[in-house]
Amino acid sequence: MSARPTYTQDVVSDLIDGSLPWAQTRQIMSAYKDDDRFEKYIAILQERVPWDDPIVLTVGEHLFIVATAAGHVVKCDCGHEFCDYRENWKMAARVRVRDDAESLEEIYPGPSKPDVEWMELREFICPGCAALLEVEAVPPGFPVLHDFLPDLEAFYEGWLGRPVPTVGG
C-alpha cells in the first residue's frame, strides 16, 4: 500500500489559489506529498489559460514554458510569447527602473528606501498584459539575473519517465 495521498483536481485547484480552508491546507502540507500533483497542476493551469500550447513547466505566477512548433518558449498566461526558454525572458520584457528618490518613495517612503547610488529596483513587466513578473533589487550595473534554467530533459525523462512534451513541426 502506498503511503502517498492523492487529491481531487478541485482540491488542488483551491489549494494553489489559497482558497482551501487552512485546516485542510495544513493537513496537506504535513502529509506525504501527492505523487500526481504535477500532472493535476498542469491540467488545472492548462484549463485556465486561453491558448492551447501544451504547458511544459511553470516558471512564474504568470509565466510558463510551453511547447510550440518553434520549440519550447516562455509564454505569459495572457498569450504574449517572450523567447526560447534557454534565454532570459527578462531581456524580452519591458522594464521600469526605480533609481531615484521620487520613484522609490512611492513604495519606500522616508528613511526606509535604499540609497539610489547603491541599489535600484528593476520591475520586469509583461508587454502583453502589464503584469509585474519580477522585481530585482540590485546595484546599478548588476547583470540581469536568469532566475531559473530548468533541465527539461532530466526532469521529464529522468524523473517523470516520459518525453518532454513537444509539438510537431
Binding site: 488542488v12 489549494l15 489559497g18 491546507t25 496537506i28 506529498k33 505523487d35 500533483r37 504535477f38 493535476k40 497542476y41 498542469i42 516558471v59 505566477e61 531581456m91 520584457a93 519591458r94 522594464v95 521600469r96 527602473v97 512611492e106 513604495i107 519606500y108 522616508g110 528613511p111 526606509s112 528606501k113 535604499p114 540609497d115 547610488e117 547603491w118 541599489m119 529596483l121 520591475e123 520586469f124 498584459c129 502589464a130 503584469a131 509585474l132 513578473l133 519580477e134 522585481v135 530585482e136 533589487a137 540590485v138 546595484p139 546599478p140 550595473g141 548588476f142 547583470p143 539575473l145 532566475d147 531559473f148 534554467l149 530548468p150 533541465d151 532530466a154 526532469f155 529522468g158 524523473w159
Partner: protein, 739 residues
C-alpha cells in the same frame, strides 16, 4: 552496567582497534567510493523490524527534545529560557548528527564540525577523550557561526567503547567583547570578539572545571548567563547519555550502533527522494546585498573605517540524481568587519534552512547534508583564507544568503506545483545589545533577542508570518517584555506593528514591529545594533513581490520631554508613524540621534529613549493582484499604510466612521490605470540595456559599487567573464583600467 562515567582501568576503546581518526577517514572514503553513508547499501534493521527501528528513532528524538526542555529551566538567560536559543543533539562516534531537538538547529551541523575537528586533530591522544569529559567550543573555524554559540559535547561510552556523542549549544547574550552583548558589531578581526573557547576540555568526571568557570566569571560583563548555560548544556548532555544507556540496556550496543548509522543513510536517501518529488532539476540563480557602513562610526579602527557593499550571490544546481550543489561564486572578499562566515557557519546555515523547507520530518539528520554540496570560493566572505577574521556577526550575510537560497527553492516548488510550500525566505533582522550600569547598580552586558519574532517572507498561497519568524530558530519567540526588563535597564513603552514592513505582493511578507524603550534606573546605558545593513535591501521578493524595507535607522533621543508628555497624557512615539515624519521626530522633543546601518550610540541615562525596528519579509506576486479585501484588513489593523494601499496596491477606499470601505469599481479602474502606467512608464529591456551598458563602460557608479565589482572580479575569473559577456564588453572593464 556502565553509565559512561565509571573509569575503566584500560584506555577506552574509541573505535575498536583502528582509532577514531582513521575510522573517520575511512568513512569519508567509503562514502566517496560507494555513495552510501558508512557503505550501508541495505537498511537492514529497518527491513528486519521496521516498527522497532522507528520506535528506537522516536526514543532518541524524544531524548534530545526532553533534555532541551529540562535544560532551559536551568538557564538564567532570557535568550535561552524565553526565546529558545538552544539546541540538543545526538551524534555518531564519528561526529555525524543522528537526531536533534527543536531550537537553533544550525548548530547541529556545526557541532558535527566541532567533533570532527577534535577527531582530525588527534584529541584521542592529546588531550584524550575519556568517559565523563566535557568539551566546549565557540571558534567559528572549528565549528560554529560566531563566538556567542558556545557548544558543549560529551562522549558517550558503553563498556569502555565510544558509541556516541551528546551535544548542546546555547547562544550567549554576553561574550566579553569590545562592546557589550554577543554579536560584537565593530569587531574587525577575531581579537575583540570576546572570550574564545577553542575546542577545550572544560570538564572531567561530568563536572565543569573550576578554572574554566573562573575564566568566565572574570571575562564577561554578566557571567551568570554563560555559567548557568554551561550547566544547562551539560545537564542536557548527561540526560541524553542516560537515555542512550537505557536504550542500549533494552536493545544492545550493536543494535544502537548500527541503527544510528542507518538513520543517517536513510536521511541521505530521503533527501534525494524529496528533491525528486518536490523540485525540478536545473540551474537557479539569485542575489542580494548587504551594506556595511563603518565610515565615521565610533570605535571602528581606521583600517576598517569605510562603507562596503557586499554581494551575496547564490547559484543552485540540481542534477538528474536529485543532488544539489549551492555555489557562492561571485561573493565578495572577506573584510575587516564582523560579517564574515566560516565554512562551518555556511554549512550550519544551509542545514537549518534545509530543515525548514525540505527535510522537516522523518530522519532529519546529517544525511541531508551528505546529499548536498556547498561551493565556498576561497578568499570570499563565505570561506576566508585567514582564520583570524571576525565572524561575530556572520548571520548578517548568512541570513540574506540562505533567504536567497530558499527563494530559489520556492521557484522549484512553483514549477512542481507545490505552491503551498513556496516561501520567500527569512530575512536578516538587526537587533540591539547594551552594556553599562544595570538597574541593580552592577556592570552588565546583554543582547535583546526580540529579533526572533520578525516577519517572514510571504508564502505562495498566503501572507508571511507576522511578528513571529526567525530564520535561525524555527521555534521562534520574542520573549516577554517584562523578562527583558529584568535583563536590561530598560522599560518598554510600547511594541507596535510596523506598517509596510512586509514586502508588498499578491501575498505580502510578514510584518515586523517597533519597540520603544526608556533607559531605566541607569546612569549609563551604551546601546549598539548588530547585523544591521544600510543603504541596500538585504532581501527580495519573487514573482513580482517587493523586498521588505531593510535599510533601517535606529533612533535615540536624549534629554527629552518624556516626563512632561506622560504628565500631560500626550501620545508617545511607540511606533514608526508616518515614514515622512516619523513619530520619533514628531512626538518627542530632545537631543535626537538617528543612524543608518550599524549603530554605536553615545551613552544614555535614565529617561532617555530609543526606538528599534524589527523588519518584515519579502513579498510574492504582483501587488495589484492582491485581494482588495486583504488590503482592507491590513489597513484596519495597521499592517499597511494608506499610502501603500493607494500607491502600490492600487485600492480605492474611504475611511467611514473608523472603518475602511473598499470601492470595488474604483479599485478595478485604479488597477487598470496602473497597468497602463506600467506600459507607458517602462521601456523594452533591450533599450534599457544599451543605456546601462554605456554606464558600465563609463564606470558611472559610486565608489562603493565600483569597488564591489572590482573586488568580486579579482576573486573570480568566471564571474568576471559572465559579467563582461552579459554587457558585451571586450577588454578591460572600467574599474580594472582605473586600478
Amino acid at each position: 552496567m556502565s553509565n559512561g562515567t565509571v573509569a575503566t582501568t584500560d584506555k577506552p576503546k574509541l573505535l575498536g582497534a583502528i582509532g577514531l581518526k582513521r575510522r573517520l577517514e575511512e568513512m569519508e572514503q567509503t562514502l566517496a567510493d560507494t555513495g552510501h553513508y558508512d557503505g550501508i547499501e541495505e537498511l537492514a534493521l529497518r527491513a528486519e523490524d521496521p516498527l522497532k527501528y522507528e520506535r528506537t528513532h522516536t526514543r532518541l528524538s524524544s531524548a534530545v527534545i526532553a533534555a532541551r526542555e529540562t535544560s532551559k529551566l536551568i538557564s538564567a538567560s532570557p535568550g535561552v529560557r524565553e526565546v529558545g536559543e538552544s539546541v540538543v543533539g545526538l551524534f555518531t562516534p564519528e561526529g555525524d548528527s543522528v537526531v536533534f531537538s527543536a531550537g537553533i538547529m544550525v548548530h547541529v551541523h556545526s557541532m558535527s564540525r566541532f567533533i570532527k575537528w577534535m577527531i582530525r586533530n588527534d584529541y584521542e591522544n592529546d588531550p584524550g577523550i575519556e568517559p565523563g569529559d566535557i568539551f566546549a567550543n565557540n571558534d567559528a573555524f572549528i565549528g560554529c557561526v560566531q563566538l556567542p554559540d558556545v557548544m558543549d559535547v560529551i562522549p558517550i561510552f558503553r563498556d569502555g567503547e565510544l558509541v556516541a556523542w551528546a551535544g548542546s549549544v546555547c547562544h550567549e547574550l554576553e561574550v566579553g567583547g569590545i562592546v557589550a552583548g554577543g554579536d560584537i558589531n565593530i569587531a574587525i578581526e577575531r581579537f575583540g570578539e570576546g572570550m574564545p573557547v577553542c575546542a577545550e576540555k572544560v570538564g572531567t568526571n561530568d563536572e565543569i572545571r573550576r578554572d574554566y568557570l573562573v575564566r568566565a566569571e572574570r571575562s564577561l560583563r554578566t557571567p551568570i548567563y554563560w555559567i548557568l548555560d554551561e550547566k544547562a548544556k551539560v545537564s542536557a548532555c548527561l540526560e541524553v547519555r542516560d537515555k542512550v544507556n537505557e536504550l542500549i540496556d533494552d536493545l544492545g550496543t550493536e543494535y544502537f550502533k548500527q541503527a544510528i548509522h542507518e538513520y543517517i543513510e536513510e536521511g541521505r536517501r530521503t533527501h534525494l527522494e524529496r528533491m525528486k518529488v518536490q523540485s525540478v532539476p536545473g540551474r537557479y540563480r539569485g542575489v542580494t546585498f548587504y551594506g556595511n557602513l563603518f565610515k565615521d562610526k565610533p570605535g571602528v579602527l581606521p583600517v576598517a573605517a569605510k562603507n562596503e557593499l557586499i554581494p551575496i550571490p547564490v547559484e543552485v544546481e540540481i542534477d538528474r540524481g536529485g543532488f544539489m550543489s549551492v555555489d557562492f561564486e561571485g561573493a565578495g572578499p572577506w573584510g575587516w568587519h564582523p560579517n564574515n562566515c566560516s565554512p562551518a557557519a555556511m554549512e550550519g546555515g544551509f542545514f537549518v534552512n534545509l530543515t525548514q523547507f525540505m527535510d522537516y520530518d522523518g530522519m532529519v539528520n546529517d544525511g541531508a547534508a551528505l546529499a548536498t554540496e556547498l561551493k565556498l570560493p576561497e578568499g570570499t566572505w563565505t570561506n576566508p583564507d585567514s582564520e583570524q577574521v571576525a565572524t561575530a556577526c556572520g548571520w548578517a550575510l548568512m541570513n540574506p544568503a540562505y533567504g536567497t537560497f530558499v527563494r530559489l527553492m520556492a521557484r522549484a516548488h512553483l514549477a512542481r506545483g507545490f505552491k503551498e510550500e513556496i516561501f520567500v525566505g527569512g530575512i536578516n533582522c538587526p537587533f540591539f545589545e547594551a552594556g553599562g550600569i544595570s538597574q541593580y547598580g552592577t556592570r552588565f552586558g546583554a543582547s535583546n533577542f526580540e529579533l526572533s519574532a520578525a516577519g517572514s517572507g510571504a508564502r505562495g498561497i498566503m501572507d508571511g508570518i507576522d511578528t513571529g519568524y526567525a530564520i535561525f530558530n524555527p521555534e521562534s519567540d520574542m520573549g516577554n517584555a517584562e523578562v527583558w526588563e529584568t535583563a536590561l535597564p530598560v522599560l518598554y513603552l510600547g511594541r507596535r506593528i510596523w506598517a509596510d514592513s512586509g514586502g508588498a505582493g499578491k501575498f505580502r511578507g510578514g510584518v515586523g514591529f517597533t519597540s520603544l524603550y526608556k533607559a531605566h534606573r541607569t546612569p549609563l546605558l551604551s546601546v549598539t545594533t548588530a547585523v544591521h545593513s544600510g543603504k541596500v535591501f538585504d532581501n527580495a521578493g519573487i514573482c513580482g513581490g517587493y523586498p521588505s524595507p531593510s535599510a533601517l535607522y535606529h533612533y535615540a533621543i536624549r534629554d527629552n520631554d518624556l516626563a512632561e508628555r506622560i504628565e500631560n497624557r500626550d501620545p508617545l512615539p511607540v511606533g514608526v508613524g508616518d515614514a515622512d515624519a516619523p513619530d520619533m521626530l514628531e512626538l518627542i522633543s530632545g537631543d535626537v540621534e538617528y543612524t543608518e546601518g550599524v549603530y554605536v550610540g553615545k551613552p544614555l541615562k535614565d529617561g532617555d529613549l530609543f526606538q528599534h525596528s524589527y523588519i518584515g519579509g519579502g513579498g510574492y506576486g504582483d501587488p495589484i493582484e492582491r485581494s482588495p479585501d486583504l488590503v482592507r484588513r491590513d489597513l484596519d489593523v495597521g499592517k499597511v499604510s494608506e499610502r501603500l494601499a493607494r500607491n502600490l496596491y492600487r485600492v480605492a477606499f474611504e475611511l467611514e466612521d473608523g472603518e475602511y470601505k473598499v470601492d470595488a469599481e474604483a479599485t478595478a479602474a485604479a488597477r487598470e490605470a496602473e497597468r497602463e502606467r506600467r506600459l507607458s512608464g517602462s521601456v523594452p529591456a533591450a533599450e534599457w540595456f544599451e543605456a546601462q551598458r554605456k554606464r558600465v563602460v563609463d564606470n558611472g557608479f559610486c565608489e562603493e559599487v565600483s569597488a564591489m565589482y572590482h573586488d568580486a572580479m579579482e576573486l573570480s575569473e568566471r564571474w568576471r567573464g559572465e559579467y563582461a559577456e552579459f554587457w558585451k564588453i571586450d577588454g578591460p572593464l572600467a574599474w580594472e583600467e582605473s586600478k
